[in-house]
Symmetry: C4
Subunit: 204 residues, 4 copies
């Protein structure tokens, strides 16, 4: 059996399913952006801005977080040469926590400066960062084992744990000052903007 | 025509469509997790936990059930060498019952200890287990016919009927004690965690 | 360029997009099946049956209609050897009318025996049957032109026009007696259960 | 590694993800078409037409806009021989603005002749046209560089900037007369009906 065919039978459906779930996660968040119909119809710009503005900004932030996760997911899956049950379940574990991002986005969009919504958003992102680390570890174990890549993987896993820790700190910090946590929510994605596997990308 | 091309024309679109529907089923359940906006904004942790807690646990259970079904669906479709109308319709029959899992999840999440929601959830899972058995039988009939695989299939179909029966028992049991049925809902997925076709997976 | 590659570049994305839209159409209908939470929690079986029963039956009917359309869509796309702009737009035209099936299902599920909901459901199905006929004609024009297939196509297009006419008749008939139209809604899918292209399927 | 395999690893998942998001965008708009249940049940045709009519027309317009964007997206992605991070992010940028089309459609459908909803719809379409121009520029840069294609690309990018400008004009014009902006919303898609890359399509 050719390499292409065996890959198709192994990781293709996991990738397709993940892409599907992530596509729905991204788009479902828009359904929560209930537009203030009366304010729009009557031309009340201030009410529109006050109700829609924060929700749109939080949605944009979550969209960026999910887009970064998807890009890294693409890179990560390329590392796995074939599917295993462990890979399937760590991927499902990650998708479970990703599927709660729309809920956390909705909660944060409703009250973006209240401690508990900020803490809840931080807790969900913490679980996502942790889930990503587990999936990365699992994918790296079944990938090809050349010394160079192993070093990259070890570095990425270390970087993932650091960002998991930083996200975890936003939960208690939200009750000190929501603004610190919100700042962290914005800064972390910007640091991740450059994807993990950049060298591997150019190697192909 | 090569084997790869003929497979693409036969089961590929059934698989892609199933993956799409299952991805949506999983994610649509999140839309029913209406967050208590006021309790979140005012920091009322007890209300948040009381309204969101049970719903999140039931969602996690349904997510696990659907993830197990998807994994087994992947394995099962690998057994089918080409698509037939029977396979298409048994698959559609299964997807119909899977599409009702979000409804049952919503109902159970609203009142997780009331007899009728528990019975309804059990009834929907019974129909799903039955649908899976029918699809398995259909896929096995058109798969390659070597003695070893047939024995595996016979064993899997037997195992499926047993779990269908156990799920069916949760419907009357819910009216005796919802807790017994809830325990069964949790135990059955854990037994299925190891997928059906494990030997075949490693054969490739 | 190989035949496989050229097909991938031509109809693959149209098929993938159609599968995606149809998967969402099927599953979105479930979101309209609002379960009566209080009746479920209090164990009021009659209220549950009265509110959920008709909606579930109408949903099952729409699910069957969409599943038949999807199966025929698979067959039909196999006839087209490559994509054209005409094929893309007739497909988009069909998907537009298919996307209104959840709306018609919701309307009919709320009042299954009232003339206007029945007529509305009939009108949407008429537009779908017509859209399917147009798409079929477009796909057949760019398919391979051997005499046998042309006869099949001519027969299928004729059959499609007949069912379009029958669906169209349900709109005025709904205002005479909704029950006649409802009977037609049930009978037509059963006649279509055996897909159009059966001979072609076995030819490959 | 063959060209087909390397393309699969590069743009295939971007295309699949885009198709998924666009399929959901199209279908999610239907969820906002809340049917007036009482008017339907009581057969009040005028109320049905008054509440559902404008929403259906705006939905049809948005469906056409998204279908044109999808077709051009297919053409555009064919120009890119492999994926880059820039392509991924310009695509994500476009999808972000596309994901707001359902929101703008909902707002416009509720009050199709009020200045602010018309202006909001125009603003979202402006951002989409701009996003498309950026993505086109990015895809053309990594496509094959023969003189003929470059000229086509330059022409397309120029055409895109013109339509971006026209869309941008609908925002202030909505506050002069919503009818002018609405006319532009209808005319622009008709001009785009013939896709950008038509010569390239026939080249393959």
């Amino acid at each position: 059996m050719s390499e292409g065919a065996s890959r198709h039978q192994s990781t293709a459906r996991i990738e397709a399913f993940s892409d599907g779930v992530i596509a729905i996660i991204v788009t479902i968040m828009v359904l929560e952006l209930h537009a203030p119909a009366e304010a729009f119809a009557s031309g009340d710009f201030n009410t529109v801005l006050a109700t829609l503005g924060p929700k749109l900004l939080v949605y944009a932030l979550s969209f960026l977080v999910v887009a970064i996760m998807l890009l890294n997911h693409h890179m990560l899956m390329r590392a796995a040469t074939h599917a295993t049950n462990a890979l399937y379940w760590w991927n499902a574990y990650l998708l479970f926590w990703m599927s709660l991002i729309p809920l956390a986005t909705d909660v944060l969009g409703d009250a973006p400066f209240a401690p508990m919504p900020v803490g809840f958003y931080g807790a969900i992102l913490t679980m996502n960062a942790m889930g990503f680390t587990f999936l990365h570890r699992s994918a790296a174990c079944i990938g090809d084992k050349d010394g160079v890549l192993d070093d990259i993987h070890r570095e990425v896993v270390r970087k993932n744990w650091v960002s998991t820790m930083i996200y975890a700190s936003t939960v208690p910090l939200a009750f000190v000052s929501p603004y610190i946590s919100l700042a962290i929510f914005v800064i972390i994605p910007l640091l991740y903007f450059i994807p993990e596997f950049t060298p591997r990308l150019h190697r192909n």
